[in-house]
Amino acid sequence: MSLEDTRITKILEAIQQIASGNFDARIEISSALDQIDGIATGINMLSEEIQTRIEEQLKENQKLNETISQLREVKRELSRSEELSSQVFQTSPDSISISRLEDGIFVEVNQSFEKLTGYNRDEIIGRSVFEFGLWSKKSIREELEKRLLKDGICTNLETDFRVRDGSIVQGLLSASLLHINNRPHLLVIGRDISKIREAEETLYATRRKYEDLIQFSPDGIILLDNSGMIEMANPAFALLAGLPAEKITGRHFKDFKGFNLKDLPKYTRVLSQVLQGKVPKPMEMNFSKKDGIEQYIDIHVTPIWKEGKITGAQAVVRDITDRIRAIEALRISEDQYRTSMDAMHDAMYVISPELVVTVVNKALRVGLAEVGVSPDVVGKNYKEAFPFLDASTVDEYKDVFTSGKTIQKEERYKIGDQERFADTRRIPIYEGKLVARVLTIVHDITERKKTDKVQQIMYNISNAVDTTKDLDELFRSIQLELGSIFDTRNFFIAFYNKNDETLSLPFFVDEKDSFDSFPARNTLTGYMIRNDQPILMKDKDIAKLVKKRILDDIGTPSKIWLGVPLKIKEEIIGALVMQNYEDENAYNEKDLEILQFVSAQIGFSIATKRAYDEVQVEKAYFEQLFEGSPETVVLTSNDGKLIKVNGEFQKLFGYTPDEVLGKEIDRLIVPEEFQEEARNISESVARGKKILTETVRQHKDGTRIHVSVIGTPIEIEGGQVAVYGIYRDITDRKNAEIALRESEEKLRNILYSSPDAITVSDLRGYITECNQAALDVFECDNEKDLIGNNANLFVIPELRVKGISGLKKVLRHGHIKNVEFEMLTKNGRKIFADLSASLIRDNNDLPIGIVSIIQDISARKAYEKDLKLAKEKAEESDLLKSAFLANMSHEIRTPMNAILGFSELLKSEDLSKETRNEYVKIINNKGNELMLIISDIIDVSKIEAGDIKILYAEMEVKDFLQQILHQLNEEKSLMNKDHIQLRLNMPEKECPIIVSDEARLRQIMYNLINNALKFTHDGYVEIGFIIKEKKVQFFVKDTGIGIVKEKQEIVFDRFRQVDESINSEFGGTGLGLSISRDLVNLLGGDIWVESEENKGSTFCFHLPLYKNSKAGENSGDQNIEKKRKGTLVDFSGKKILVAEDDSANYLFIESYLKHTQSEILWARDGEQLLELFHSEPDLDLILMDLRMPNLNGIDATRIIRKANKDIPVIALTAYAFADDREKSMEAGCTDYLAKPVTIEKLSETLLKYLK
């Protein structure tokens, strides 16, 4: 059997077990996880699943069985109580239900429940009360549950239920807990109380309405019982009685004091009738308030029925006091009214609906009588009574009777020849709701109408002043207006001319005559004017005056003449006259009065019109001036609001008049920064001040405009009413001014900032302006020192004539240029000045001043002077150099000649040894001379180039001088100066130490001593020092030829010698002292000479003292001695490597060293040097030439130092410069020797390192 068969067999066995109900069976899964394992896995999982599900089913079954058991128990319980309860249960009129407390599922309900809810039992049982939504308010159900759980029972709980049809039923519930099968159940007994509640509410509402009716009734109501006791009184009755209701109720009506005692029998009788079921008529009775005030009431008593029986009476009481009193008042009023009518001034009458006059008052009767109409009009038809009335009044009366509305109108009557005006009112008089009569009141307004007419005329004439175009039209208007009340067919207006006593007639209308003017004298018009009295005169009266020659007979006589003077403010200006040629009654006194009255207005109107015409002319002029002005003209109110602007305003500021009128001008055209200035201007003008100023305003588009402003207050009758402003655009001028100012400013700036002194003077030369530079040049503190003074004052006196001629030249030619003057400053100091001046001319090219530019050229002059001196010196120097070169040439050639000559002689083989040595000595001496000359020249070059480097080190002065003395003692003989004593003079107790460069100090001393030896023929040369003021003062004193005093100054100059001729005798470059001076200066000291001709010289210099150890500590002589002995050394056993490319130099060194018994190795270049250095490890010292082929000494030393730090390496080179010394020491050299090296120096140095 294969493995797979085995596995399949296992699967089959497992399936058999599962099939037999053993679901625990599992098949093992191999590690192959192949198809067979997959099948096995599936079977395993299936059996597990099945097993699980079977287990779950078993659990469910068990639960089900438990439930069934519970149900059975419930059923048993129910069966037990069923018999007892079913009868009660089913027959109960109340609805009963049993439901589970926990979920509300109905267990049982009775028939009443079915009826109440509309659901049948089968529908309900087994379903929850919540499914049906029976509880309309869940909270009640919860409340019920809570109460039950707490108390076990709940009774009389009112709630609403929602029944099957959706309607709400009000129910009253009682509930208790039942335990069925140990589970709490709810037994609910309910009753439908909807109808009871409905009936209660209806009853309540009815009662409420009735009570409200009584409570809020405006009539007083009291309720009485059968005995007459007051059971209730409403608020209105309480108000009527003036007592609170509670004090009224509970007492018998007879005891209530409101009802009058005398009326009690009547009340008792009425109550009795009412209680018998009768309803008596309402009664008007008296009634007393609490405070005793008598009132009238209307009382209506009715029975109160209850269930078919009369239980009492209800009395409704109404206060009728006001009505009763009104009727009484009316009656009284009727009498008063008749009396009043008669007392009235206006005519009054009353007519009936039949238009019959029923009443007339006294005024009417009188009035009728006055106009000739019968006053007995009562009882007549009104048309008959008042025949003058218009027929239309009939309709008006009818209208008043029907509409009941008052009519008021003005009426015009014509009674005879009289015209009358009346203000008539027709007033309805009511009786009840009907108009019973019409009262007519007639107010006579005839006079008022006339007055009104006159007023109207005056108004029209006044108005005509404005509406007429000229005086003539006004006069016509006056004539027309007066014509409405007078006959003005013959009418004139005369103006009185006082001067010539004439009357001009601007208006003259006449049927007969025609005049333009006539004399005032002897005319009626003139007469009237003179007397200042109006005149109404008939022809006969006029004739009398003519006859009496008071008047002349002018024009056609009129029947009646009416005239009044025309006045303005009490001054008579003329007359107003009208006349009639036919009717002498055409005018009367009344007319005279009216005309006189009207004349005042006419006079005023004429004057106004004349003034107006004048104003119009002036206004036209003004308008023309205003509008035609080329300037911008504005008119503002005192508070700055624009009233008027002319056309130029828009051109200047860009605003149209509509945009600006009524607005504040300052807000429109004043820029922000000029607001305060504008405000000041406005305030000044507002105070009545005239303003003329120039300022800046702005265009509508913001452009700034320079303007001149004239502000003038306008006053009328002493009061300022407005401001008149004129703006002129001065922008161009301002810009020009600004440009000019800027230009001036620039010029001024140039003037003031110019480094040259600039003055402006008038044509006489008096200074008017100056700049700071001018003040500086002339050493002035301020402008006052210059301005006002004549410029010529600052010229030195001896040149002032030249100054004046210069001024004249400027005036004549317009300018002068670069004229040099010597001038004086304020302090009297002389200065050299370069002066240029030119005329200043005005616009008309006329000279107005002179501008001068003064340049202080004192410095330049001094420089020029210096330059001249320098030039002279240079020329002198040039000569010196030439002399020097000649001298130098001689100095160099002399030794060179000797060297070359004797060298040539040395070639000769037949020379004796002595001679040869002599030649060599000469060559050596001359070589040394040549070296000195070259050294001097190099030093001069280095000093001039600033290349001299000073290497400071401490040094003992005494030691130093002793060395010098020692060395120069040897050289002295070379100079053939053995006879000259060289001596040292040093203070014994001093032992100074200075910090200085020994090499340079040595050079100085050599120079001085050599000079001293050179110029000393006999005597001695003494060197030494003294300590003076913390300085060491060296000296070299000789007894030589000395230096004349004049030449002592120049001995330190280069190329100078006291006497160039001396040079030829004494030789020398003339550089030694110059170099010494420069070196002393470099070392921080000074050098000088003290000398006397033929006696000797002492050259001294001093250097700073560093410290001063006292004497006796060290003996310089001993040191020197040691060193000197050191030159006699024996270097046997020592191996010395000499690196030198120049064989001559090597030979020199070799020649010396071979006497020291040392072993010598020679390297010709740097490479050989290194080879020997490595091949000869026992070297004791290296003499290193710094300049070698292949590898220079500096680099070679560096290489050697890497291998051997101890071996002494002595640099040896021709580069006698400090740089070489530093470089070689840096590279690792132990010491340094400059070529040409002396045997002594070489010996001393070697001794130092080979000991």
């Binding site: 899964i29 590690s31 996880l33 192949d34 198809q35 394992d37 997959g38 099948i39 896995t41 599936g42 395993n44 999982m45 597990e48 699943e49 699980t52």
Partner: protein, 137 residues
């Protein structure tokens, strides 16, 4: 079966396997050879997912059930629970042999998972599906 070549940023031993988190944001659960997965193992895995991998939010997971030998019913219940769905967005079941396929089918058929679960025989497709789901999220 494709090759997974994502950058693993974290991995943890879950006892019977290990879970990894790739840079792309999805997790990868693999099992040791022939593992019988019990409820204890599943609870431990879920605890690791919750505390170490899904602290910042739900993640998709690739569950390689190839090496499983069996999975208990209770264990399957764990994977189908709300608890698991609270940390995982989707799960791709990688099945590459008959046993794992049967297990996957049982899981999908009988356990109503609270998250989308899909079975794949190819890891590339599974990852693509997970990434889609992940990207959509």
């Amino acid at each position: 079966m494709g090759i997974i070549s994502f950058n693993i940023v974290k991995q943890t031993d879950t006892g019977k396997g290990r879970v990894m988190l790739y840079k792309d944001g999805f997790m990868h659960q693999i099992y040791n050879d022939s593992v019988d997965l019990t409820i204890k193992d599943s609870l431990k895995e879920l605890e690791i997912y919750k505390k170490e991998y899904c602290t910042e939010g739900k993640r998709p997971i690739l569950v390689d059930i190839t090496n499983l030998k069996s999975v208990s019913k209770e264990s399957r219940g764990i994977y189908a629970s709300e608890d698991t769905a609270s940390v995982l967005i989707k799960a791709a079941l990688l099945v590459c042999n008959p046993v794992s396929r049967i297990i996957g089918n049982f899981y999908l058929g009988l356990n109503k998972s609270k998250m989308p679960v899909k079975m794949f025989g190819d890891v590339g497709e599974a990852v693509e599906w997970l990434k889609q789901a992940h990207d959509k999220k």
